[in-house]
Symmetry: C2
Subunit: 432 residues, 2 copies
């Protein structure tokens, strides 16, 4: 890419879909992004922008002025415009809003009124609704007066005169039913509309559970506000799934893969600082046993093994529980069962691998006492890891701390401290 | 739940949707699952079964006989039946297939012919197709002869007389266009059909990129075989996203949260065994420096800090790169940029935190030599971690080893070995 002249690149970009251009931008370092952005056709800029991940979107917006932004947002859905505006500083957002047409502003503000991470923040406002007393024939004629229907429309929304949600009229039913029947006779009423303040992850669970394509969003009076479409839900699902992975390493799931050093370094630095504190705690424990180590240096050689095995076993348990919690499977009713399963697994594997390690230690250092010490310490640490890995995420959630973010650090601290304490403690007692 | 009598539970289950029953089963330990399953109404058993995660599905199937299975599969889509059959042992699968009606068997076998993790394995076969030369009026009358259209239908497929895929006719366009025009005049032809052998993760990327609801699947001669719907793609997206999280802890993304000990313990045990080997390698490195540790016991106290900080920094880099690879963003063209960003970040944070740690070490042990040694060793290890975290996943992928599965272990081995080696090596040189 770097070697192509501007015009060649421009021609290449013209042959790509907005989605492909967005992916290309996301896969490029920041400086190349800005060059590429300038070469994109004006007409597709809006569509490309709306496809970008939030972090990248913010970066592109930061090099635009208000006029450009307003021009770009023309023709986008209210929810996509709201998404873009939320990346802007308060002041710029107000400027852009006031430069928009009255009707656009109203549509966008109705979405902006809701938190970004709720159903209201996910919805768009272009719904097609019909009254229950119409015949299908009338509905069909009404639809034909539209130039086109909103993207992904699979249901019409049936509403009362006061715009209250009554039911759904699937297009597939509209197309197969007798045109002389009324909407009321064939509409589906067993779908609960989504309240605008429902958190987005609950919306995603509903979509995944019921295989919805679109779903109606209502206010507290059951008045139809808009609709949520599956493509926005897929983004939520993907981000939620990413959340546990990224958080366990102290990262933000929305972080741009190509964020520059000045953005990457500080966030990671905090995480390293927290880890340094916990590592110091482990060192402090070791320090208590300086005398014993001085007597038997082999202990220093073997002690990281005890800590490391506990850490690995604990992180396996932790990952299973955190994922189970994200899937809504782990609750008070089955926690006891999970805990006993984990402790059973930890004990079994603890006996197996500590025996193996005991054998190795006996052969390596020719000292049966060291073998027995490491067997006991490893078994203790693996069972502790099972306990901590199961109960920690549940306790953190009860304290309203994100288990995916804090779980890993706290867990390693526990397995390190217990590992060193049991191994060196037992050794001190044996060799005293 | 345990305390309710059978009849009460049965009444409760009758009030739940098949999706909710499936979630309840997934959230229950194995023994309770079997009790619950027996209380479910016959008519919804098939629907519940198809909603279950693979592992749970296999468990429920293992307590059924062939007759029950055939009865349950009646009325399910070909792709869902294929999903269920693939959970069965070869012999049982053949039995069930031969007990099915001829037409059902053919439909199912057309899906079974493809690998589970390809477009062919994801598709179902109930498509509605039309010829390009028909007028919309004829299409509308044709549709009205159907009792109902397949779920999630958003497009009709336009095919030639030889069943070759030509284009899409969106229902929304069918409803708004003039009924006297022909299909050919308003169909969309800019959508590439999906080849049946495309891997499922590529299918998922296409759906996410183009916001599709359904997409046509064709064979190598462009003949229409079936369609893929977004609900099955959402499952693929969710599993793919889970894959990195679970693999980094040596777990299987399809593992049932409530798998019994006899299933959990062996798999985790292998992972612990591999970790024991790498921990022994680190111990062997420490062992080389027994003499130095014997002289300066403070080294044993501080050495885990160097290894641990490298491990954390490395896993941050590794996670970012693995996620970037899963999103298709990391390739040869931007690897050099990423590597320099990671090394820059590692060096910056290395200087910051190693200085802090140097200060702490100087105060703690009152020995400036130890301070300088830990500063140098930590900085070396953090930069090594950046190197290894970036290049390891790329190298593993080139070797066709799953980076998410192997990356974490190899990385920790590197940061442990380099951490101990640099810290104790420098110390030996300083204190010699």
């Amino acid at each position: 890419l770097d070697s192509g002249t501007g015009r060649e690149v421009q021609r290449m970009l013209q042959s790509l879909s907005p989605q492909s251009i967005a992916q290309l931008l996301e896969s490029s370092p920041p400086r190349i992004r800005q060059v590429l952005w300038k070469l994109i056709d004006r007409e597709v800029e809006g569509e490309v922008l709306q496809e970008l991940a939030d972090d990248v979107k913010a970066q592109i917006l930061s090099i635009m002025d208000t006029e450009e932004m307003v021009a770009i947002m023309e023709g986008l859905n209210a929810d996509d415009i709201a998404d873009i505006l939320q990346q802007l500083p308060e002041r710029v957002m107000a400027e852009v809003l006031s430069a928009m047409s009255e009707s656009d502003r109203q549509r966008v503000q109705s979405v902006l009124a809701y938190d970004e991470e709720t159903a209201g923040g996910l919805m768009d406002t272009d719904t097609v609704s019909v009254r229950p007393n119409l015949t299908l024939d009338v509905v069909l004629r009404y639809l034909r007066r539209h130039e086109k229907l909103p993207k992904s429309t699979d249901n019409l929304f049936v509403v009362s005169r006061q715009d209250r949600f009554i039911g759904l009229l699937p297009l597939t039913r509209l197309l197969t039913a007798d045109p002389s029947v009324t909407v009321r006779e064939i509409m589906t009423t067993d779908v609960e509309p989504i309240p605008a303040d429902m958190p987005d992850y609950e919306v995603a669970q509903l979509f995944a559970k019921y295989d919805w394509i679109t779903a109606p969003v209502v206010d507290e009076n059951n008045r139809l506000l808009g609709r949520i479409t599956i493509d926005d839900v897929v983004d939520v699902i993907r981000e939620d799934a990413d959340h546990s992975l990224m958080s366990l390493a102290g990262l933000d799931e929305e972080e741009d893969t190509f964020a520059p050093i000045k953005r990457t370094a500080p966030r990671r630095s905090i995480w390293l600082g927290i880890n340094l504190l916990t590592a110091l705690l482990a060192s402090w424990v070791i320090n208590l046993f300086q005398g014993t180590i001085d007597k038997v240096v082999a202990l220093a050689v073997l002690m990281p093994i005890v800590a490391s095995m506990g850490g690995v076993a604990g992180s396996q348990t932790l990952t299973v529980i955190i994922r189970g919690m994200a899937l809504g499977q782990v609750g008070r009713s089955n926690l006891r069962w999970l805990l006993s399963r984990e402790i059973g697994t930890g004990a079994l594997n603890g006996i197996l691998w500590s025996s193996v390690m005991g054998g190795i230690a006996a052969l390596w250092f020719g000292d049966l006492r060291i073998a027995w010490i490491i067997i006991a310490a490893m078994a203790i640490n693996l069972v502790t890891a099972a306990f901590a890995g199961t109960l920690l995420p549940v306790a953190l959630r009860a304290l309203r701390i994100d288990p995916a973010l804090a779980g890993g650090v706290v867990l390693t601290t526990v397995t390190d401290v217990v590992g060193f304490l049991s191994f060196l403690g037992l050794a001190t007692w044996f060799f005293a």
